[in-house]
């Protein structure tokens, strides 16, 4: 590595970064227009074929863009950060927002986009075609009244879930780079030829297997358009260095993703094209990259041995790749945006951990990923570092150093908890050892796990609690869908309160399941992702899309927020109303109804805040209530089937999740005052973190035994003195001591809970220095 190389790299990345950041992302009508044209041409054909042909039309015509300085190429459109439109899912919000309701795209309070007059005109032109044909229209027409009403009172919320694709998965990048799309296509063609068309089962597979080669060929042609563009630019380029770079881009794009990659660079370009086309095919977010360091390392090693690659050069390529990942933006309706604020796309890269044989998996590409994160400093991709007792000291230290930069990256995942919990669900040990992070914090097996290990409908625990304490009636709307067993004024014991919680939690969980299963069935019929399915095992083998049950594993989950508010509220009721009797149920009910604004309201609120234990401080009184309340949800959700049940995958069942993103803010708006002292409309607690400002006596050990489901985000703030002293030494960071002793063996009761939840994985997000007692600040997830 030479100093000159490093300077050149830094300058290149700085310019690419500026290019991405200097302008607002821009909305394009290209995809929507091409899709609409294609749909009109293919009317009447099987939907999977129509979807593949639409993708073909889009990839053959969408703008090709190679930016100055780029080494890895491929863009969502003509603008460095283009947001395409996906009208097949939903146009209702688009129609409103094109007219500035509630905001013009460029005037939103956050997540702004620019849009040209011409784009507005084109989009308005195609909206009428889609009205009545979208995924949302279909779902809404089929929804039972109870589900609609549950949404109306905000006990459940599905902002993006009908309006966008599924995402939340890791396709088989390893196959893409080692087999090439042509190789995968040949497999599909052989499967198609091998069908016994007298067998109705095989006949059912035919449309999908016919569609796969169309989509894969389209992807290859898309890359060739880039090759042609690079050649054209190279011919005109005066700077000899850039000319060579463009020629290299051209020859790379001529080879991949069609053929197996022969170099590190080709593998990287192939992965990027794949990722990009997945983003163009559908707009589901959280399309993640899996164990990037594992599948890239053989190429790295070979190139280094051949003397055609250095660490420095590989770092530059990976940084270029990171910038490309950052270029992916999605336009979501404003209402959905509130739940996932900050332009998140959740493309997660997993590094480290162990191999299927139980050896440590860290390699030089692992460090390249960390160094690229430290130097590129962009919000995409997300980086997840797997952690196990055999993780080498250099790796731990480098992770700690990158975390210390304050980027909130990498997140840490504990193999010791996750691998056994996957095995407990029926995942093979080999696959479990190969797990990777999906989206923000979900877990999946790369190349084998269907959409959405988390990321379905939002379940508003705060609202469910409010209903439970008010005989099932919503104070805000007066709606009573599920009569309860009484209210705060009438409950005679804490057991009755818990019973009330269970009644409402079960009822609204059912509404959430009905909605999501209906949405899944509709998506299966209307918006199959052929390209994506072709790249997931074992869709080609089974002749099924992912929606039809093509994945090897398929467990899905929703999202929830407010666990800590529920636990804190129940603990306050138990302690102050039933044990110490310092306040009656009637008085508490009145205080909540009046949002603590009555004559004694503030004193009651202070009592609730200060005289009852709060979740997240390693206090069993409230932590065990959290276990019971949340555990009930976990236990119930695990009993429901998904639409893939019995159709091929291992699983086909629902599972629990604690992921929130920013949903705790809008979800809180609909929830009145709660017995934890939270005022009406205030944000709920996120994930399974303590409520805001209430994790006051954090020990590192107050974390792992807390209830967790599929995804868990918990921030840790060491008692940094905030006085400008040195940042914590890596050795002092708590995650070096992720320890299973804390998650079970010490405490039988907790162990029981871990069993009921099936999966628990403590995750460490960014550590920041905090003055003692400081509120934890929101961080983009």
């Amino acid at each position: 590595m030479t100093g000159e190389e490093a300077i050149g790299r830094r300058e290149r990345i700085a310019r690419l970064r500026d290019c991405m950041l200097e302008r607002m992302p821009e909305i394009s009508a290209e995809r929507a227009r091409l899709l609409t044209e294609s749909y009109k041409e293919t009317d009447g054909a099987p939907m999977v074929i129509r979807r593949a042909k639409a993708l073909e039309k889009i990839l053959s015509n969408i703008s090709v863009l190679i930016l100055p300085d780029e080494l890895i190429v491929g863009s969502q459109g003509a603008h460095p950060r283009t947001a395409q439109i996906f009208p097949e899912y939903c146009v209702s919000w688009l129609k409103r927002e094109l007219d500035g309701d509630p905001y013009n795209f460029w005037e939103r309070p956050g997540d702004r986009f620019s849009i040209s007059r011409e784009t507005i005109r084109q989009l308005k032109e195609i909206i009428p075609y889609w009205e009545g044909r979208t995924n949302e229209d279909r779902v809404m027409s089929l929804l039972p009244e109870s589900v609609k009403r549950a949404r109306e009172i905000d006990a459940i919320h599905w902002g993006g879930h009908v309006a966008a694709g599924d995402g939340h998965l890791i396709v088989d990048y390893e196959a893409v780079i080692n087999e090439g799309l042509d190789g995968i296509r040949a497999r599909a063609e052989r499967a198609l030829e091998g069908l016994d068309l007298t067998d109705p089962e095989d006949l059912r597979k035919r449309p999908f297997l016919t569609a796969v080669p169309i989509a894969l060929k389209a992807a290859v042609e898309f890359a060739r358009r880039y090759a042609a563009e690079a050649r054209r630019m190279a011919d005109r380029e005066m700077d000899p260095r850039r000319k060579r770079e463009l020629q290299e881009i051209a020859s790379t794009c001529e080879r991949v993703p069609a053929s197996p990659a022969t170099t590190f660079r080709e593998a990287l370009q192939s992965v990027w094209f794949t990722q990009l086309i997945l983003q163009i095919e559908s707009n589901g977010h959280s399309v993640s990259l899996g164990r990037f360091d594992q599948y890239m390392y053989p190429f790295y090693r070979r190139d280094v041995e051949r003397g055609i690659l250095t660490y420095e050069r590989a770092l530059e390529l990976v940084q270029c790749f990171y910038v490309k990942l950052f270029s992916v933006v999605k336009l979501r309706g404003w209402n959905h945006t509130r739940y996932v604020a900050g332009h998140p796309v959740f493309q997660n890269i997993t590094i480290g951990g162990q191999t299927a044989r139980g050896d440590d998996a860290v390699n030089e590409v692992t460090y390249i990923c960390l160094d690229a994160m430290a130097e590129t400093k962009l919000t995409q991709p997300s980086l997840s570092a797997r952690w196990w007792p055999g993780s080498p000291a250099r790796y731990r230290k480098r992770c700690a150093e990158v975390i210390r930069l304050g980027l909130g990256q990498p997140a840490l995942f504990n193999d010791e908890v996750i691998v056994p919990s996957l095995v407990a669900r029926g995942v093979t040990l080999e696959d479990a050892s190969n797990y990777a992070a999906v989206g923000c914090v979900e877990i999946g097996v790369p190349a084998k796990w269907g959409y959405c290990p988390s990321g379905r409908c939002h379940f508003n625990m705060g609202k469910v609690l409010e209903l439970a304490l008010n005989n099932g009636r919503d104070r805000r709307t007066g709606i009573q869908l599920c009569p309860g067993n009484g209210d705060l004024a009438s409950f005679k014991s804490f057991d009755e309160v818990m019973e009330a919680w269970r009644i409402q939690a079960e009822y609204y969980l059912k509404q959430h399941i009905i909605f999501d299963n209906l949405n899944e069935l509709t998506k299966e019929e209307l918006v199959a992702d052929v390209f994506c399915s072709a790249l997931l095992q074992d869709c080609i083998g089974r002749g099924k899309t992912i929606h039809q049950g093509g994945a090897v594993y398929d467990f899905i989950a929703g999202q929830q927020c407010g666990t800590a508010n529920v636990a804190d509220s129940l603990a306050a009721i138990k302690k102050l109303v039933f044990e110490e009797r310092v306040i009656t149920g009637t008085e508490l009910a009145r205080a909540l109804e009046t949002n603590f604004e009555g004559p004694d309201g503030e004193r009651v609120r202070q009592l609730l805040l200060n005289k009852a234990p709060k979740f997240g401080n390693d206090d069993d009184y409230v932590d065990l209530i959290a276990r019971d309340a949340f555990g009930f949800y976990v236990e119930k959700v695990n009993t429901y089937k998904t639409v893939k049940y019995g159709r091929g995958p291992t699983g086909g069942m629902w599972q629990a999740s604690t992921s929130t993103v920013s949903a705790n803010v809008p979800s809180g708006l609909a929830v009145g005052a709660t017995p934890d002292g939270r005022k009406a409309g205030d944000p709920l607690a996120e994930g399974c973190s303590p409520a805001q400002g209430r994790g006051t006596s954090l020990g590192p050990g107050s974390r792992p035994e807390r209830p967790a489901g599929r995804g868990e985000v918990r921030r840790q703030a060491p008692q940094h003195n905030g006085l400008g002293g040195p940042a914590p030494e890596p050795e002092a960071l708590p995650f070096v001591a992720f320890d299973r002793r804390r998650t079970g063996e010490n405490d039988r009761r907790r162990e029981g809970f871990l069993r009921t939840q099936g999966l628990a994985h403590p995750i460490q997000r960014g550590l920041r220095g905090h003055a003692e007692g400081c509120d934890e600040q929101p961080v983009e997830v």
Partner: protein
């Protein structure tokens, strides 16, 4: 074990601390200190006996505390409470009655075993480096308790440390030495008179103890110099301390810049803050203050 029932007065136990010794540590703050440093950021640590503190900003004026007090020690004046300190025995009934958490008793009597129950909770996180640090106040103002606590921690395989002013009879310090891995030892001024002016006591005993500790060679010593404007944050004072450090065989010192975080606690205890109005040092000034130490061949660490 005999030492598990030894009692002491503690005003805080802080888990997950990363600045007071290696690794992740649990800090036990012992109450009572022979010094009265004007810049002290923990005024509640100074007196041995429990005391009542009142955080006016949290008070909602409900006055339930007044009814709860059996000694008539609380009166409501203007928009806040006044504690008649001569009547208050810090029984804590008012703190129980206070919904808002505006009243708090600093200090409680605990046994070594009770402290260890808390300390043990984080055992998996201590790893090979972390452990227990006894801080204060002055840990050696309660020598039996401190020694017993350190012995208990050592017996459980934790690393042990104290943060001390060094202002205690040698007989109070020496019993703990067998259980002590690291001594974070304050050096506030090299000049006895200036030391007395700033802290209320001469530094002679402190230097003598430091010499004995260094000569004994049993526990590792980290010397810590608070950088206090108007007291020792001047080149001459710092150079004199650097000489002391070097003479004691130190190779590096921690420099702890003055801060204002204790201000509100003085108010809550109805005490005057002697250093009121003194501003923090700038980053640049702090950097400058490394120089006298580095000239003496000592390494420096800001914070520590």
């Amino acid at each position: 074990m005999a030492f598990s029932r030894v009692q002491g007065v503690v005003f805080n136990i802080q888990r997950y601390s990363i600045h007071d010794g290696p690794g992740i540590r649990t800090l036990v703050f012992v109450k009572g200190c022979p010094l009265r440093c004007g810049w002290c950021c923990n005024p509640e640590s100074q007196r041995r006996e429990p005391e009542l503190g009142y955080m006016r900003s949290r008070c909602i004026g409900c006055r339930r505390c007044i009814d709860s007090c059996g000694r008539g020690a609380l009166v409501f004046e203007g928009d806040g409470l006044r504690i008649l300190r001569e009547r208050c025995d810090a029984c804590g009934r008012c703190a129980v009655a206070c919904a808002a958490g505006a009243l708090e008793v600093f200090g409680r009597t605990v046994t070594v075993e009770e402290v260890m129950d808390e300390v043990r909770r984080d055992t998996p996180f201590y790893g090979s480096g972390g452990g227990l640090t006894v801080s204060g106040g002055e840990p050696f103002s309660q020598p039996d308790f401190t020694a017993a606590l350190l012995a208990a921690a050592k017996e459980e395989g934790l690393t042990t440390a104290v943060e001390t002013s060094g202002c205690a009879p040698w007989e109070a310090i020496s019993p703990a030495l067998g259980s002590l891995g690291l001594v974070l030892y304050d050096l506030k001024h090299a000049d006895p008179d200036r030391h007395r002016e700033g802290t209320g006591a001469s530094n002679e005993l402190i230097l003598e103890n430091l010499g004995k500790l260094a000569a004994g060679g049993r526990a590792r010593i980290r010397l810590r110099v608070p950088l206090i404007p108007r007291f020792n944050a001047d080149p001459n004072s710092l150079a004199a301390m650097a000489r002391v450090a070097r003479d004691m065989g130190m190779t590096e010192v921690d420099l702890l810049p003055y801060h204002l975080l204790g201000t509100s606690k003085y108010k809550s205890l109805d005490r005057e803050y002697p250093w009121a109005g003194v501003e923090r040092l700038t980053d640049r000034e702090i950097e400058e203050m490394r120089r006298p130490f580095e000239s003496a061949g000592l390494g420096t660490r800001i914070g520590g």
